[in-house]
Symmetry: C2
Subunit: 373 residues, 2 copies
DNA sequence: CTCGTCATTGCATACGGATGCAATCGTGGC
DNA sequence: GCCACGATTGCATCCGTATGCAATGACGAG
């Protein structure tokens, strides 16, 4: 048996001609090379870059300095393979017409980055094969999964996709509560809106929902209806916009406004509410809030625009993100971790769409001071 | 269990924030195990999952079936290490107040996913050490980088971060043009707005910019000013909002409106324009477009809301994304690829903020048919 | 019936770093 | 001056796949 180890560098010869250049680019320096150049072991290099390992401060410094000089950076892929930790969080999102979510995702991604997790986006599109898209989540071995997709995914899919890793559902739940979720307290919010309508003397109220089968929609709707009944108000309409869009809000508002027996409407989110607001004012010539009061949910930027000055229930975005990140960290470190549901308190923001000019004072520029960013 | 090693800890708080904790979870099945169970070689398993490899259809089927049964999926991390291809694109973003960008990023990420690239988000925050944040880009060995961050990053940083990999700058350029960029044709857009103002009889026009030193702002401003001069119109103001925000537009509009000698304003993006619109109407009681015409840039959703019906220059988002993705694919396959600048044509959308009710007919619902999505 | 060819499949090793364990070095105690 | 012990450092091996090359098998030509 011939053991021609080493020796012939490559099948160079003539068939070196490879027209296509599919594989690599200029190779970055590796830990081994750095080590060889410095006359130390590759282990030393590895340890120099790993906090809490056994290595003398001097050697570590020497290595770090040399690394900086030679532009060496540990290859994260290789680390992942040996440590079985990717330091990557998968963020599962789907179509978002609601500007609330891009904002949330950006902040979330920033926070995750701060604790050492990069965010890998997984866009789930309604049409295509969902299970198949989730396979990627598992293949990439992400340490954690944050699901910010209200729809599309079933509980079963989610359980499968997140099996064996840290996971948090944001603003959605699954019926059996086997997964940890963090959300705005929809019940609190919807009740607050109902209470507010009552407090300003409205008695004929309506609800306009968004995507029918989402937990956000159902929770807000049920809580609102319940509270409205408790307060002895009349529920004139319960509509579903079918989606969380401006047009859906506009359409629903036309229907409500034309019936002329409603004096306050709670839209399940701000975009719906803004569409409704425009329909009442421009489409039907009603006065807001005199003829009809309008409230939304989320507190997106636009609610603060003077045209709308929309009363809304602010989702505690920062708290949601903070809790999400800390729950993930906890799951990553605790062997035993049991799923929990985490509704977080929001805040009712009363603006001109429910309380006329007398009740609040417009300040020169669009934003009342306490709401300035 | 870990017995906290009293690590001397480099208090050198290079806050290498790493979520700590026991790495592993329940181990998924590997190719080797699958192979052993089936009595074939690990290579066979690998080949079964790699298109275009030498393996009989029968064996491939047998393996794929068994894999499905045992819930085996090739570990992407390990593949990356072997192939030196991560199939990941890094998307570099920074603070975005402009809703145009989240939308773009979502679509971009979806398209990249369609061609087999997952998107890893890199949020660059203005405050912190930028170079340090870019290191991650290199450590993760992303195959490609898409920069959608108008600001913050210098050309030098970008060149370093993207060195040796496919890269595309979206809606920004760097002076020396050593990197490929794809953007909306700002010059075309700004000229179109100027022409439009001229066509509707305006002669006293103003420009309101956003972030002063961004290429988008500079290009739009210069092209507008030039064209205005060519057409013999008077440029009454050239303001910089300082940022692309509603408030900045509002403020600038107050200043312009109070001077009472301007009859058309081009805002460098839609958010500025909407702020300006509200300032003119609510803040100053002017009529739009009768007293003053307002135009924006981007064509975000809100421009179509009936309240605003904002004339704007539509960025060819789909074309931008398509070109970006194809340029990336090209760079990934071509050894020699030279950077190019790719301005793409947009489209002037004339709406009511420049042409009164006579000129356009409002259709029942908010969106004129040809603009329905 | 024998040999060459092509199609499959297995074997061995590389990818770049992490880490258990052994080897080495420096020190203080006796 | 000798030995034990803790602090460092190096060695060898593993993480899970991909892939060049050799081995095996099937099949048609001569």
């Amino acid at each position: 048996m011939v053991v021609t180890s080493g020796h012939t560098v490559a099948g160079d010869d003539m068939d070196d001609a490879n027209p296509v250049g599919p594989p690599p680019k200029r190779k970055p320096i590796t830990a081994r090379e750095l080590a060889r150049l410095m006359g130390v072991s590759q282990s030393a290099v590895s340890r120099a870059f790993t906090p809490g390992t056994s290595i003398s401060p001097q050697l570590r410094q020497r290595i770090l300095r040399a690394a900086a000089e030679l532009d060496y950076h540990p290859n994260a892929i290789a680390s992942m393979l040996s440590t079985r930790r990717s330091n990557i969080a998968g963020i599962v999102v789907s179509e978002m017409q609601n500007p609330f979510y891009p904002t949330l995702i950006e902040k979330l991604s920033r926070e995750l980055q701060r604790v050492g997790l990069q965010s890998l986006m997984f866009n789930i599109t309604r049409g295509s094969n969902i299970e198949e898209q989730l396979v990627a989540l598992r293949k990439y071995n992400v340490d954690a999964v944050v699901v910010v997709s209200a729809t599309v995914l079933s509980g079963a899919s989610l359980r499968w996709a997140t099996e064996g890793r840290a996971a948090v559902l944001v603003n959605r739940t699954i019926p059996d509560q086997t997964l940890t979720s963090v959300s705005c307290d929809n019940v609190e919010g919807a009740r607050a809106i109902a209470d507010h309508f009552h407090a300003i003397g409205r008695r004929q109220v309506a609800y306009v929902g968004g995507l029918p089968h989402t937990s956000t929609n159902l929770e807000r709707q049920n809580a609102f209806i319940t509270r409205v009944a408790e307060l002895g108000m009349t529920l004139t309409h319960t509509l579903s916009g079918g989606e969380y869009s401006y047009e859906a809000g506009y359409r629903a508002a036309l229907e409500i406004g034309q019936a002329k027996r409603t004096d306050a409407v709670f839209f399940a989110n701000d975009i719906l509410a803004i569409g409704g607001f425009d329909a009442f004012k421009d489409g039907l010539g009603l006065l807001v809030p005199e003829d009809i009061a309008v409230a939304g949910f989320d507190d997106v930027d636009m609610t603060r625009w003077p045209r709308y000055s929309l009363t809304t229930f602010r989702q505690p975005v920062d708290a949601i993100i903070e809790r999400t990140v800390s729950l993930i960290i906890e799951q990553l470190s605790n062997e035993d971790f049991s799923p929990s549901q985490n509704p977080l308190s929001g805040e009712l923001l009363i603006r001109h769409s429910t309380v006329g000019g007398r009740g609040l004072e417009k300040i020169g520029l669009p934003l009342p001071p306490q709401e300035q960013r």
